[in-house]
Structures are given as C-alpha cells and as structure tokens.
C-alpha cells in the first residue's frame, strides 16, 4: 500500500496567505500606476503658444498684404504688443523675423532664447520631450513695388510653475 501522507492544512493556509499578499501587492501596484499615469499626463500647450506668437507677429508686420514696418530698425515690442521682459535671453520664448527679396535676406530680427532656433530644427526631425515647440509662418507682402517673402519662426518651452 502506498503511503498516503495526510497533508497538513495549516501548511496550505500559510502558503495561501503569502499568495494573498502577492495578489494584494499586484492590485495595489496596478491602481497606483494607473492613477500616476493619469495625473502625470502633461497638458502641454507650447505648440499652441508658439503658433499664437507666430500669428501675432505676422499679423502685426503685415497689414492687408502690405509690409507695415520699415526695413531698418523698428520696435517690434511696441508694434506687436509684446512684453519685452518676457523675451529676455534665457526666457521660455523666442521669435525670429526674416524677410527675403527673392533669395536674398534683406532683414532679420530675433529676440528671446536664441538656442531655440537650432532646437526647433532638431524637433522637426526627432521627438524630444523637453525641447521647445515651434511654429513657422510664411507670407508674401508688398513693399513699395517689390514683393517680399516674410518668414516668422516662433518657439515656446514654458513649463509653468507650481507654487
């Protein structure tokens, strides 16, 4: 007769309690991960912000198809209702205005964090989360008897501040 070993129920209960904690840990971990993923989802509006900035600058320098600025110096902040302090060297914003007559660059002006110009080109090629989001607008404008090409590049990398 084969020896039948009577299994101790208490041993089974001990094993079950370990399993029970393992299951609890998995459930708890799942809930915590789900909540963290949900609430850490970023509401990133940098792309929209750069689009608004590019539009704002373009709309203020071109009026009804005509270039509304002189090709010498002009105060873009006064003209486009922009706050100069916000566009310091290391700020979260950047814009650049380039005006071409054919292939020749006749006017260039930029303000803000100039590093964004290269970062914007990198963003076009690869997805980089902490890089600025950029927008470019192109339009033609009449200037006297010439037709000029206006290119406005704008970038934003603002993260906001939790207090």
């Amino acid at each position: 007769m084969s020896k039948i070993k009577k299994m101790d129920k208490r041993g089974g209960v001990k094993l079950l309690s370990i399993w029970w904690f393992f299951v609890l840990a998995v459930i708890a971990g799942g809930v915590v991960i789900a909540v963290i993923i949900y609430y850490s989802a970023d509401i990133n509006s940098n792309k929209l912000e750069s689009y608004i900035l590019a539009n704002k600058v373009m709309d203020c320098i071109i009026n009804k198809g005509n270039l509304d600025i002189g090709l010498e110096e002009f105060d873009v902040f006064e003209k486009c209702d922009l706050e100069q302090e916000v566009f310091r060297k290391n700020s979260n914003f950047y814009f650049k205005i380039k005006i071409y007559e054919g292939d020749e660059l006749v006017f260039s002006f930029d303000k803000g964090n100039s590093l964004f110009e290269k970062d914007c080109k990198i963003q076009e090629k690869i997805l980089a989360k902490s890089f600025p989001k950029c927008s470019e607008k192109r339009a033609s404008a009449a200037y006297g008897d010439k037709i000029l090409e206006v290119v406005v590049l704008a970038g934003s990398n603002q993260q906001g501040m939790k207090e």
Binding site: V31, N55, K56, F77, D81, E83, G160, M161, K162
Partner: protein
C-alpha cells in the same frame, strides 16, 4: 467557581500551546497588514481624487493663451463651474482663485494653499473678475490706458 476554573485552564492551555500562539499571531499580522493596505489605498485615492492641481494648470494655461490670442477691447467669458466646486471643498474664496501678476506677466490659479502660475507674453492691461460661474477676462490696450490716465491726471 467551576466556570472560572475552566476558563483559567483554557488560558493556561492557550499559553502553553505554541501552535495556537503562532496561529493567532499570524492572524493578527494578517489583519494588521490588510488594514494598513486598505487605509493607504483609501488615503492615496482620496488625495488623488481632488484633481485640484489638474484644474489649476489647465485654467492657468487657458487664461494665458486667451490673453495672448486676444486683441485690445475684447472681453471673454470663461465657464468656471467645475473649478468652483473644488474651491468650495478646499474653503477657497472665489475672489482668491484667479490672480494676475502684471509685473511678471503671470496668471496664477490656486484652488488650495499652493497654486499654479503661467506666463503670458502680451503687453496688454487685463482684468479678471469672477461672477457666479463665469470668469470675465477684459483686455485693454496699455498705451490707451496710460494715455487716458495721463489725461485724467491733467
């Protein structure tokens, strides 16, 4: 007397019985750990569920983008009914939720002791006013405002 005797015997047997002690200890630890687990879960879920920081960030960005995209002499109404419920839960007054830091060009939204700030790049003079479930954003041209103030002073 007899009952007390029997009870004492049971207690003595219990104290002598190591296996019984182990089992009861295991059960106690089991219930303790379960209690800790569920209390921790409830605490975490309760705090995650207030969603105040999500609304702070969302509304601060919305208001900043509205101000940047608007033109002078515009007035915009923003529905803030969702945010009012959370502010009431956190005992926050309606007039303390939205603030404009005009010196630093910041929009501040706070539904709790902390808050969230977001910068706008326009040079407008703006006012934020809450009225029931609406936030009124009035955009004014700074240059015209300064001119009017200057004429007023004269």
């Amino acid at each position: 007397m007899l009952k007390r005797g029997l009870r004492n015997k049971k207690v003595k047997n219990f104290l002598k019985n190591k296996k019984a002690q182990e089992r009861s200890l295991e059960t106690l630890i089991f219930f303790l750990l379960n209690t800790i687990f569920f209390v921790t879960m409830l605490f975490f879920i309760y705090h995650a569920g207030t969603r105040a920081f999500i609304y702070e960030e969302s509304y601060a960005k919305q208001i900043a983008l509205i101000m940047d995209n608007a033109k002078p002499e515009m007035a915009i109404l923003l529905d803030i009914s969702e945010i009012i419920e959370i502010a009431e839960k956190n005992n926050k007054q309606l007039n303390e939720i939205f603030k404009l830091d005009k010196e630093n060009n910041l929009v501040k939204v706070s539904l709790s002791e902390r808050g969230y700030s977001y910068q706008y790049f326009s040079d407008y003079d703006a006012d934020l006013k809450t009225d029931n479930n609406w936030l009124s954003i009035s955009i004014k041209d700074k240059k015209i405002e300064e001119k009017v103030r200057g004429e007023g002073n004269e």
